[in-house]
Amino acid sequence: MIKKLDRLRRFEMIRTLAAVGLALGIAFLLILFTSEQPIDALRAFILGPISKFRYFGNVLELMIPLLFTGLAVSVMFSANQFNLISEGAFFVGALGSSWIATNFLLPAGIHPVVGILVAGLIGAVVAMIPAILKLKWNADVLVSSLMLNYILMFLGFYFLNYHLRDPQAGDMASFKFPDSARLMKILPGTRVHIGLIVAILAVILIYLFMFKTRWGYEIRMVGKNESFAKYSGMNVFRVIIVSQMVGGFLAGLGGGIEMLGMYTRFKYKTLPGFGWDGVIVAILAKNNPALVPVGAFFLAYLRIGADIMSRSTDVSSQLVGIIQGVVIILVAAEHFMSKRKNRIIYEESMADLSAVKEAK
């Protein structure tokens, strides 16, 4: 039995790799057909991120927000709620940390901690809203969270415009963050900051939360079969609210950390898109927190590679959008390579059966 599970899990991994490979193959074909300098473009795309230490630093920098929103979406989707609020939660988290950074005077060690915790709390509160609308009035989570993202964006810009805006900045941006509020850099020669370590800790904690605590078990059960969870005595209402709040907290935390780690002012002009990226990461990781770093690394590497490629050659970095789409569809497709999966299940079952017969 254990052997069968192992073989299936290994197969799932191979399947994901095959999907990624196929998507990259399509990308290569597109580059070959559309570029005047396909070899250079491919080289920049694949090897660019490891060609310079600074570029690899860019990959790690980009991984940090992806880790947080990837974890956030994994937890929310585990409860079978298609809550896309991580986009808005990330945004208001970033704004909340900017508010703490610019409006309060705190000692250097404590200032960023307060900033990112406030960011997380704001994220948790907003993530609750679509869940409550769903549980109380049966409003579709997906649509209401999408709409709420836009509302949060405009609310955020109002707040920025009337409370945080630096009139000297020229552009619409907040006052400059004091040094006491900013996160420490940890890799000289790059902008990688201590947020990476917080992110890794978050991965470990959320893994333990989801797989080693009763809370996590309940979230996964509700996600798999809500009626079953209800009949076995779980408080489904509470479980869903908790899962969405944990997710929102992570997304908000990510926003705060990104802001205080990478920026000197709040200057987003629109939603930054990390919430949607979190969906991609969670799909690649199959909602498993332990695999979120793999998904986040892959996506960050793709993005930086595409960026380097578009700067040095004639291929647009938007190519990544196509790769992402193909990967999501194939990874999430039950029937992609399903014949092989069924054969594994069949062979293992036959082996089990013959073992039972022999024993008799």
Binding site: L30, T34, F82, L133, K136, W137, N138, A139, D140, L142, V143, S144, L146, M147, L148, Y150, I151, F154, L155, F157, Y158, N161, Y162, W276, V279, I280, I283, S316, Q318, L319, V320, G321, I322, Q324, G325, V326, I328, I329, L330, A332, A333, E334, H335, F336
Partner: protein, 320 residues
């Protein structure tokens, strides 16, 4: 407050309500058709974006707005077809498939725009065409309502005509009946020999075509170019309009007009003495409120029906 009333009193305002309603209405009718067949189409946004792009490119290449429109319709339907293939054949979760298609549309259109024209983000070097406006002469000759309902883009009239065509299709044709049967209970439909998969394929393609018309309007009527993410969430607003409008195309139209009203008001932000951010928020707030009202009404309807059934059951038992 008085400034808002002044704005609502002008015929230009109501003209713009109809204008901004058009793309939402197309996509909402698409959402209605696919939802009726029991398949949710969140890729409406992607269909619209690809179609807006195709309209600009093909109308520029062939020097004809009509060929652009045709291309937009075909591409919109193709996105629906892809969604159907992923969801019904590859058995990918239909929501995830649609998210993937939307991502591909956002990146793919910009990628291809650069390939075909060398433009980055906006089609400034493509000499694309726009679809004609109709009844412009009547606008000034008919008092009060003339300037409101005449002189719109041809697709605006198509959208409102499609409301009635969709109604007829859904409720008066055998195919519409099959569509609704599949959405209502696909096991029952299957048992009487309806091919559920085929019907859902058709529904998704049709809804993609509807969204495609909305996309064509965006780039060949609303404005005369293609730009990055120009649909700006209209496909999602359409989903909400559908949710609010219930199961009838007329309801969908009223809900779409409601969103059009809110969006049009947001366009007058400069003249309203409220912070612009709040005005821009209005359509989205309306969407959530509408969604909650509709969903909770439906929920209480179901409860009431169940209660009635239970009462009927007990009273019939009492009679025995």
């Amino acid at each position: 407050m008085s400034s808002i009333i002044d704005i609502i009193g002008t015929s230009e305002f109501w003209y713009s309500v109809i204008r901004v309603t058009t793309p939402i209405l197309f996509a909402a009718l698409g959402a209605l058709i696919s939802d009726s067949a029991g398949v949710i189409n969140i890729a409406l946004e992607g269909s619209m974006l690809w179609s807006a792009f195709a309209g600009v490119v093909f109308s520029a290449w062939f020097d004809s707005a009509w060929i652009g429109l045709l291309a937009a319709i075909i591409i919109g339907g193709l996105v629906g077809l892809m969604l159907a293939y992923f969801a019904l054949n590859l058995k990918t979760d239909i929501i995830l498939s649609a998210i993937a298609l939307n991502l591909m549309a956002a990146g793919g259109t910009i990628f291809l725009l650069f390939v075909v024209s060398g433009d980055r983000g906006i089609s400034s070097s493509l000499d694309s065409r726009v679809l004609p406006k109709l009844f412009t002469g009547l606008a000034d000759n008919v008092p009060i309502i003339g300037p409101v309902i005449f002189g719109h883009n041809v697709l605006t009239y198509v959208a409102f005509v499609l409301v009635f065509v969709t109604w007829f299709f859904m409720f008066k044709t055998p195919m519409g009946l099959r569509l609704r049967a599949v959405g209502e209970n696909f096991h029952a439909a299957d048992s009487v020999g309806i091919s559920v998969k085929k019907i859902q394929y058709q529904a998704l393609v049709l809804s993609g075509i509807m969204a495609g018309l909305g996309g064509a309007f965006m780039s060949m009527g609303y404005v005369s170019w293609f730009s990055q993410n120009m649909t700006a969430g209209r496909g999602f607003i359409a989903l909400a309009a559908k949710a609010m409008g219930g199961v009838s195309p007329i309801g969908t139209m009223i809900a779409s007009l409601f969103f059009g009203f809110a969006s049009a008001l947001a366009n007058y932000e400069a003249e309203i003495s409220v912070p612009a951010e709040f005005v821009k928020m209005i359509p989205y707030i309306f969407t959530i409120v509408g969604l909650v009202v509709y969903a909770s009404k439906k929920q209480s309807d179901v409860k009431r029906a169940r209660q009635k059934q239970a009462e009927a059951a007990t009273s019939s038992k009492g009679g025995e």
